[in-house]
């Protein structure tokens, strides 16, 4: 009985982990595409003086998260600093400050976890 219960518990613990891993793979894939979407929009709409890009580079605090209408579980922010690497590290371009980024995270109404899921640097 003990062995049976242990086996059942092991299965019950294992499957939710598999589900979580699947969900995370799905959401990371979507985050990458949606980050690309936002970066291309900025490039398309910017003016000759590159005002949009410059304003994003200057952001030391990311913009408020805006929920994607097609996927209310995800939100985007623009930023000039990294949230994944808050401290600038020499030799690590991902941590460089003053570089335009789009950051994808869970929508605040979906999960309280506001850590970035995906960061795309799209400076020219």
């Amino acid at each position: 009985m003990v062995i049976l219960t242990a086996g059942i518990l092991a299965i019950l613990v294992y499957f939710p982990n598999v589900l979580r891993a699947n969900d995370r793979a799905l959401i990371l894939s979507e985050a990458a595409l949606r980050a690309q979407l936002k970066a291309e929009e900025i490039r398309r709409d910017d003016d000759q003086a590159r005002t949009l890009l410059t304003e994003i580079r200057l952001l030391t605090v990311p913009t408020d998260p805006i929920v994607f209408p097609e996927n209310p579980n995800l939100a985007y922010r623009f930023s000039g600093v990294s949230l994944l690497y808050p401290t600038e590290e020499p030799g690590n371009p991902a941590s460089q400050r003053g570089v335009a980024r789009v950051i994808i995270q869970y929508a605040p109404g979906f999960r309280s976890d506001s850590r970035p899921l995906y960061e795309l640097r799209f400076d020219e």
Binding site: I8, I11, L12, F15, P16, V18, L19, N22, D23, A25, L26, S29, E30, L33, R34, Q36, L37, K38, E40, E41, I42, R43, R44, D45, D46, D47, Q48, A49, T51, L52, E55, I56, L58, L59, T63, D64, I66, V67, P69, E70, Y76, R77, F78
Partner: protein, 305 residues
């Protein structure tokens, strides 16, 4: 004496009532475990199907994006070739996604077809200092806002384009390619890519490859830089003569959306019935670099603010 009585009791087995109670408790426990197990298996199966369908859709979107990005205005040519055909269908996933009592009532066009967009609630634009994203559409519905294109019928759009060889890049591509839904080795609902290599050298034999299976909808929208306020249009024909100078013959960007079936039953069976369709969609926007960097685009669409 007491020892003998104790031995009799321990060796006397269980009564029928004890057995029945133990059996009932055991059965209830096992039933609970089985129910949980079945639910977990179902959730796991659905999650795996969704993940696989999404990877298919994403791979297709990215494959198309590579070609769209490389489309080029070739000044030495007397014509440019970029043709997008809009093919709407009558139904979508058969689900009332926005809860308004209507099903699949919208078209993918970046407009509020069903009239439920509300300024205070749905007008989403990030603000960066003095600048604002999608500045041309602040205060009006557009792609990126809430309640725009949220419950759409499927499309079977077709996109064909030329990638002219760039004389400044040795070995650059020279291709005519098109993307459309079709039949592949007897299987329906396949997103196909048809490519003619060395088209400008007279080659006419296309190579046809499947990009994704179980595809229910393919949407393309084109960002028209020639409008007074650039916006999405649902079709494009660079060869139509609609772009007299100084018009720009190619769209500045293309919105790509691929919707893939993720249900368990065979797709033909579900499509033929009236059941709701489980789907996942992948979408993105791709700029056409040759247009974005064209001096005309800089001049007409990107005035200094």
């Amino acid at each position: 004496m007491n020892k003998q009585a104790g031995q009799r009791k321990s060796g006397g087995g269980w009564t029928l009532v004890e057995m029945l109670v133990a059996l009932a408790v055991g059965s209830a426990f096992l039933a609970g475990v089985m129910t949980a197990f079945i639910q977990i298996l179902r959730a796991s199966d659905r999650s795996e199907r969704m993940t696989e369908a999404y990877q298919n859709a994403r791979a297709a979107v990215e494959a198309i994006a590579v070609y769209v990005k490389a489309a080029r205005i070739e000044p030495s040519q007397t014509y440019q070739f970029f043709q997008g055909v809009n093919v709407p269908t009558l139904s979508g996933d058969r689900i009332d996604n926005d809860g308004d009592g209507r099903i699949d009532e919208e078209l993918v066009n970046g407009l509020d077809d069903d009239g439920d967009w509300v300024l205070q609630r749905d007008d989403h634009h990030a603000r960066m200092g003095a600048a604002v994203e999608r500045r041309n559409s602040v205060g009006r519905p557009d792609l990126g806002d809430g309640h725009v294109d949220e419950d759409c019928a499927f499309n079977h759009d077709r996109l064909s384009l030329a990638i002219f060889p760039d004389p400044t890049i040795p070995g650059s591509r020279d291709e005519l390619t098109s993307f459309a839904l079709g039949l592949w080795e007897g299987e329906n609902f396949v997103l196909l890519q048809s490519t003619i290599q060395d088209a400008s050298q007279g080659s006419t034999v296309p190579q046809i490859d499947p990009l994704a299976f179980n595809v229910l909808s393919v949407n393309f929208l084109y960002w028209d830089p020639n409008r007074a306020e650039p916006y999405w249009v649902t079709q494009w024909d660079a060869f139509s003569g609609l772009f007299p100078p100084p018009g720009i013959e190619l769209p500045a960007a293309v919105f790509i959306k691929v919707t893939v079936y993720s249900g368990r039953k065979p797709i033909e069976q579900v499509v033929a019935s009236n059941e709701p369709l489980e789907t996942v969609s992948a979408c993105t926007i791709v700029d056409i670099e040759s247009v974005i960097h064209d001096p005309r685009y800089e001049q007409f669409v990107r005035p200094n603010q």
